[in-house]
């Protein structure tokens, strides 16, 4: 067996780690561990000079294993694996110890944090001892793409890919394409027509030779892996179509919050309390009137209904402020003499041209009144007959500090945008994760915002978080570009940390077969052994734990590696 020669690098992360962890002491302690040839601390290991330090040491000291203790491996494991590769070492001869997110950032006692860092790094050193070289594998890419959701995001991605000559399957659960945008009248900030924007795109998508549209359709399950997926599209009358594709874009959009959950808004009970999307219907039909057919004289727009409140959604729905400003302008055009109230909690008119929209609206004789969205929303009641309006709004106005009453003939609730009720089913079907509020989680919030942790599956538009049109379209086209790059390359590298069966040990008990959620294991009756399809295997390791004989090894998460890591961790005890 080759001599183990480990290089250990302890990152300061500026002061992020060094402030709470004595990085020099950690490096020093690691030098005592057998097999450690060099142990150094450095200001920013992920920087170019930091990586260069590793590369130089690998060459100079003939290192064959590397441990970096720095931030979470979820951030920089790939960076350092790449550095090993550049130095001619197999990228899997690397292990990372997380002494930032799991240590310096969460503890307050320097001695304790330092001791913990020593334990974590010693665990990583003991683990890396048993690491093995793993060879990269690649699979061919089926050039077709499945897009789930035919709103502005889905259509934009579909056209981008189809215009490049590649097949797209566009699956929409409604009877027509267009999604939310097709239900809008004008768009902020320039008050241009939503219909003029979306209808030509819908027509083009419906008639594109490279796009097959499925309306009233759904996907229940997606099988396979990046480059080689397959699924059935279910439509009305038990119509099923089998499709094969190499990538998936999820663009399922969002749905409005139901304000009847908030009692004092009296939504549904008072006929002239409507949601923003219901107002869009009135605007689209050109019939902006009250339920009795008369023109409203007092119109109130209440912001943040269901947003930014821990009882509903803590997040900001991002589009409603600008939408409300848009409404004030539309209402002002329709009723030059009407009183318009924007009952807001903070005006968040960010985005190109949007602050200008706010400034413009403020000059349109619109009254801005502030309420506290964290507390109670304005109470809407029916006005007494003696009043000349039909409703009264009561709330505490934040800027004046006074309890105010606002008359209204029409109240528009700027409802939050939330994930679809079937977001979870789609997540399961395609294998993406959801965060607490049911929006899909991207692979990295900043650096990889449209990919997901499942290879070949992308999330774009408002299913990832509430977005306006420019952001949705940007994401859609970004995902399309990512996919086109893979299609053009023709193949893609896949996970190599899969399970593998040692046929000399496997006794054919078949315990593992039903354990695999990806049906990646089958039984070879002739040899009386289980066989793992390494392309289908996603490397969860559950079969390795279920195998009673020890014949299944979870590559890169072997028993030996984990047991040794435990020994290493425990070799640096807490100082009692």
């Amino acid at each position: 067996m080759e001599e183990i020669r480990i290089g250990v690098y302890v990152c300061w992360c500026g002061t992020n780690i060094a402030k709470m962890v004595d990085v020099e002491a950690v490096a020093k302690a690691m030098r005592e561990i057998p097999g450690v040839i060099v142990a150094k601390d450095y200001k920013y290991m992920c920087s170019d000079p930091g990586q260069e330090l590793i590369i130089q040491d690998i060459k100079e000291h003939n290192l064959n294993r590397v441990v970096v203790s720095a931030c979470s491996p979820r951030i920089h494991e790939l960076t350092f694996r790449k550095a090993l590769e550049n130095a001619g070492l197999n990228p899997y001869m690397f292990e990372m110890a997380n002494i930032r997110e799991h240590d310096s950032w969460v503890h307050t006692d320097r001695a304790e944090a330092t001791q913990k860092a020593k334990a974590l790094v010693a665990g990583a050193i003991n683990r890396v001892r048993w690491h093995e070289s793993l060879d990269k594998r690649s699979v061919e890419i089926n050039p077709a793409t499945l897009i789930i959701g035919g709103g502005i995001a889905g259509i934009s991605a579909a056209l981008e890919i189809a215009d490049a000559g590649k097949q797209v399957y566009l699956v929409e659960k409604q009877s027509q394409l267009g999604g939310t945008v097709a239900k809008l009248d004008l768009l902020f900030p320039h008050l241009d027509s939503a219909q003029q924007l979306i209808q030509p795109k819908i027509n083009r998508a419906m008639n594109h030779l490279s796009i097959q549209c499925f309306l009233n359709a759904e996907i229940r399950e997606v099988f396979g892996y990046i480059g080689n997926f397959e699924a059935k599209v279910y439509q009305k009358d038990d119509l099923e179509t089998e499709i094969q594709f190499g990538n998936v874009i999820v663009a399922t959009g969002l749905k409005p919050f139901d304000p009847s959950k908030i009692d004092q808004l009296n939504y549904k009970r008072l006929p002239n309390v409507i949601t923003s999307l219901e107002l869009e219907e009135k605007l689209l039909s050109g019939n902006l009137v009250m339920d009795n057919g008369k023109d409203p004289k007092h119109i109130a727009l209440i912001h943040c209904i269901g947003s930014r409140n821990k009882n509903h959604h803590e997040y900001c729905s991002r589009t409603c402020c600008n939408t409300a400003l848009k409404y004030s302008n539309q209402i002002r055009s329709a009723f030059p003499d009407a009183a318009i109230y924007e009952i807001y909690s903070d005006i968040r008119s960010f985005g190109k041209g949007c602050e200008e929209l706010y400034t413009h609206t403020a000059r349109q004789d619109v009254m801005f009144l502030m309420y506290d969205q964290k507390g109670e929303v304005p109470k809407i009641t029916e006005a007494r007959h003696s009043e000349k309006v039909n409703m009264m709004l009561e709330f505490r106005e934040q800027l004046s500090g006074e309890h105010v009453e606002v008359p209204a003939d029409l109240v528009v609730l700027m409802v939050a945008m939330e994930a679809h009720e079937n977001a979870k089913e789609i997540a399961h079907a395609v294998g993406v994760s959801m965060c607490g509020n049911s929006f899909y989680i991207e692979k990295h919030p900043k650096l990889d915002p449209v990919a997901t942790t499942t290879g070949g599956v992308y999330v774009v538009g408002s299913c990832q978080s509430p977005k306006d049109i420019p952001d949705s379209v940007s994401q859609a086209r970004a995902a399309a570009a990512r996919i086109m790059a893979d299609i053009n390359f023709g193949s893609v590298e896949v996970e190599v940390t899969t399970a593998v069966v040692n046929e000399d040990i496997c006794c054919g008990c078949q315990t593992c077969i039903s354990v695999c959620p990806y049906t990646a294991i089958h039984f070879d009756a002739e040899k009386n052994v289980s066989v793992v399809n390494e392309i289908l295997c996603k490397g969860c390791g559950t079969c390795g734990s279920a195998c009673p004989t020890g014949a299944i090894r979870s590559r890169h998460f072997t028993d030996k590696q984990i047991l040794s890591q435990i020994e290493g961790l425990m070799s640096m005890q807490l100082q009692h």
């Binding site: 979470s72 969460v106 998460f557």
Partner: protein, 141 residues
């Protein structure tokens, strides 16, 4: 001096490890007694790992996976749940308090819950005192 337990934690990569990372990026503070081992799925956690941690001197072992129904690998966490209960019965027979081994679900967005869980478990183990497995084996007579 107050007893400071060592707790070994096995966290799944997609939910719990990410949740623990979030506790870090959110600068939440929790007890430093925990040492984390990353696995891809809680379904990879074998009884052998847990027993090994106790044997090496851990006073408690924590396993965290995705919430039921939310496993990145569909159902690995259920496999973990089944093993956990059988292992609980075993360690109890071996003279250990069941509370030394704890399974919980932490999603990627539950940084706060992770921090609270670590503090709570640390407190429980402090009350139970040092685990005697390592001592027992080292002083066989």
């Amino acid at each position: 001096m107050e007893f400071e337990p060592t707790i070994v934690a096995f966290l799944c990569n997609w939910c719990s490890y990410t949740g623990a990372d979030l506790a870090g990026t959110s600068r939440m503070k929790y007890a430093s007694n925990i040492r984390v081992i990353r696995v891809m799925c809680s379904g990879r956690v074998e009884p052998t790992f847990v027993l090994k941690a106790f044997r090496e001197g851990a006073d408690g072992v924590l396993i965290c996976g995705c919430h039921p129904g939310d496993c990145h690998y569909h159902e690995g966490n259920y496999k973990c749940l089944r093993r956990y209960h059988l292992l609980q019965n075993y360690i109890e027979q071996m003279g250990m308090d069941k509370r030394r081994l704890h399974l919980d679900w932490i999603s990627a967005s539950e940084g706060k819950q992770f921090a609270e869980l670590v503090d709570k478990m640390t407190q429980t183990i402090k009350e139970l005192g040092p685990c005697q497995v390592k001592h027992s084996v080292e002083t066989l007579t």
